[in-house]
């Protein structure tokens, strides 16, 4: 049906005293070559004697939106010039559509003007938005604190099954990726150190370096960054979608506090699980280091592990685990806050997930630096 040859579009005009008759000829279908309307409009422009416009559609073939847009251009221009446009001779379908188009006048003020802003204003606004963000964060942390208080008093209302589901989701389900990354980080640490240490024939100290590096720092940090991307983003997307579907509003009207019902189980799950993941990541890192050291640097398995046991003490584990619990709180806060702040559209959910990960990682790195400096000063 689409292969029918189109009859080219044409506009012919005949002037009778003060009336211009426009004959519309041919198939006016999308993608057809149209005659330039400007020539016709010029005839109607300033200084012309024409006061009335009529149409003849004897030779009009097929038509669609193309003809409609041209007619609307013509009618709008005519109205501006004070020319009476007579549409009575147009086919009834076109007349019907035209009456629909002009049935609802354009709402005054609906159209938007593009507002140009000065670059200084933009900078000022982004500065203010940082302050706004900081305020929102403080408010959010405050609300979490209140809900923790009500949890401690046994008044917080949430479903324990949700807590278990969240624990399942951020704990055991995350093990494969944690295994892979931690093993590789241990491996890399060992390689990097080994090249230097073997210059002095001190390969055995690879065990010290990997053990301390993983337990005090890298195990927790890697677990936190993985969980920020994996679970923080998921929290933001879940809560964001609930916001889009008005589920959070529904919870509020049923008398649930979203902070208690949604945020608390997620927060608790991460606080409980992160230290365990940290321990697991430590173990995987040490195994990764052992693999390298035993295979390439002539150290036996027993030597490696006894060296590790000598070098790493309980406080080292304690520091790593404590850090990781803090990271858990930060990841949950970033994810849940972005989710709760989410707008009501698909793209807003995407933005929420993105900024949850970005915020989470920024929090983690800042907190880690602070805690490392503190440990250093305190001599732990």
């Amino acid at each position: 049906m689409k292969t029918i040859n189109n009859i080219p579009c044409e506009l012919k005009t005949t002037l009778k005293i003060d009336t211009l008759e426009v004959s519309i000829i041919g198939d006016w279908v999308l993608e057809a070559e149209t005659p330039d309307l400007a020539i016709l409009l010029a005839q109607l422009g300033e200084g012309s004697k024409i006061t009335r416009l009529v149409f003849s559609t004897m030779a009009l073939g097929r038509w669609d939106s193309l003809l409609m847009t041209e007619l609307i251009n013509l009618i709008d221009y005519g109205a501006k010039q004070g020319i009476q446009v007579d549409t009575a001779t147009l086919p009834s379908g076109i007349q019907g559509l035209l009456s629909l188009v002009y049935a609802v006048p354009e709402r005054v003020g609906a159209r938007r003007q593009e507002v140009k802003t000065h670059w200084l204003e933009d900078i000022g606004k982004s500065g203010l938005s940082i302050i706004g963000d900081a305020k929102a964060l403080v408010a959010f942390v405050g609300e979490i604190a209140l809900s923790v208080v009500s949890l401690a008093r046994g008044k917080a209302r949430f479903r324990w099954i949700d807590l278990w589901m969240n624990i399942q989701d951020c704990g055991p389900s995350a093990l494969p990726i944690i295994t892979l990354i931690s093993l590789l980080v241990g491996l890399i640490l060992a390689f990097v150190g080994a090249v230097q240490l073997s210059l002095f024939g001190a390969q055995i100290y690879i065990a010290d370096m990997v053990g301390l590096g993983m337990t005090r720092e890298m195990g927790g940090l890697m677990a936190a960054i993985i969980m920020s991307g994996r679970t923080g983003a998921a929290y933001a997307a879940q809560l964001g979608t609930m916001q889009v579907n008005s589920e959070i509003d529904a919870l509020k009207t049923m008398g649930f506090e979203p902070m208690e019902f949604l945020v608390l189980p997620r927060l608790l799950a991460l606080i409980l699980i992160m230290p365990l993941l940290c321990l697991y990541a430590d173990l995987m890192g040490v195994i990764g280091g052992a693999l390298v050291t035993i295979t390439f640097f002539d150290v036996s398995l027993v030597e490696y592990f006894s060296r590790t046991a000598n070098a790493v003490h309980i406080p080292d584990f304690g520091i790593g685990i404590a850090k990781c619990a803090v990271f858990g709180v930060l990841i949950a806060v970033a994810g849940c806050m972005r989710g709760m702040q989410c707008g009501r559209s698909a793209s807003a959910v995407g933005n929420a997930a993105t900024s949850a990960v970005v915020t989470g990682i920024v929090f983690i790195v800042i907190a880690d630096s602070l805690m490392t400096v503190m440990c250093n000063r305190l001599g732990v």
């Binding site: 993608e31 669609d64 609307i72 629909l100 559209s345 793209s347």
Partner: protein
């Protein structure tokens, strides 16, 4: 010109092993406002999915004119479906784009028109549905009824021959629903398009439906077809009558007799 614009032949629909409806046979003629009706969960919307190429039937086929939808290759199917427009229940506008971008999307994708012409067409389509001047709004900034009308403008972007509606009046107040019905009818009259509509709004069914099919969830097939007004008068099937009268006939008759008795006394 072929008189039937859509023909459904021996179609059986299922989700996996679960049969939704079987042995559907009906024809939608050019210029019809065809209503697909039935109670909740009878497979109305699923039938629509099958007609617009989103879900493959277990058996049978859909014919657009003489072309089979499900026997065709993917590219052929895309070409056939270019002649259709769909208005989804909630409008299904892409939320990250303005109304103008939403409507321009199919036009830029399927034609070689210049940007000025596309802008004019977008303005025209928005004016048709009563949203002149709302080009730069995002879907989240306008009301539900307006979103639905904007969705209609997008469905009409490429001047389709067949327009599909999934519960167009759901979630609208009676006046807006009536306005939408009027709009649909005048678009049918003026564009010569065929309308296929899934709905259970009785007011719309009787106001604009010219033909219909009734799906029954218990027997899992169609149990009536024909113009809705004629079905109301002539159908003998209690299920169809109960649906078309909102199950109020009995009550109404009772009330009338009571009223009569009072008058007699």
């Amino acid at each position: 010109m072929i008189n039937s614009s859509l023909r459904i032949q021996n179609m059986t629909m299922s989700y996996g092993d679960f049969i939704i409806q079987r042995d559907l046979n009906f024809t939608i003629s050019r210029g019809d406002v065809f209503i697909i009706m039935g109670g909740s969960g009878c497979g109305k919307s699923t039938l629509l999915m099958h007609l617009i190429g989103l879900h493959k039937p277990l058996k049978g086929d859909v014919f657009y004119g003489n072309e089979s939808l499900w026997q065709s290759e993917h590219k052929e199917r895309q070409r056939i479906l270019k002649r259709t427009g769909v208005l989804f229940q909630s409008g299904a506008l892409l939320s990250s784009m303005t109304l103008a971008e939403n409507i321009a999307l199919p036009i830029t994708e399927h034609t070689l028109l210049g940007s000025r012409r596309i802008r004019e067409i977008v303005a025209y389509k928005l004016a048709l549905v009563g949203l002149a001047g709302f080009e730069d709004y995002y879907p989240s900034e306008i009301s539900g009824g307006m979103q639905k009308r904007a969705g209609l403008a997008r469905a009409m972007a490429l001047d389709p021959e067949i327009l599909f509606f999934d519960e167009p009046s759901a979630g609208l107040d009676p006046v807006s629903a009536k306005l939408l019905d009027d709009l649909i009818r005048s678009l049918r009259d003026n564009l010569g398009a065929t309308i296929v509509m899934v709905t259970h709004e009785l007011a719309s069914i009787f106001a604009i439906g010219t033909n219909s099919v009734f799906l029954d969830p218990e027997t899992k097939t169609m149990i009536a077809s024909g113009p809705p007004r004629k079905l109301l008068i002539e159908s003998r099937d209690p299920k169809v009558i109960r649906f078309l009268t909102r199950d109020e006939t009995e009550n109404r008759n009772k009330n009338e007799t009571k009223h009569q008795e009072k008058c007699d006394l």
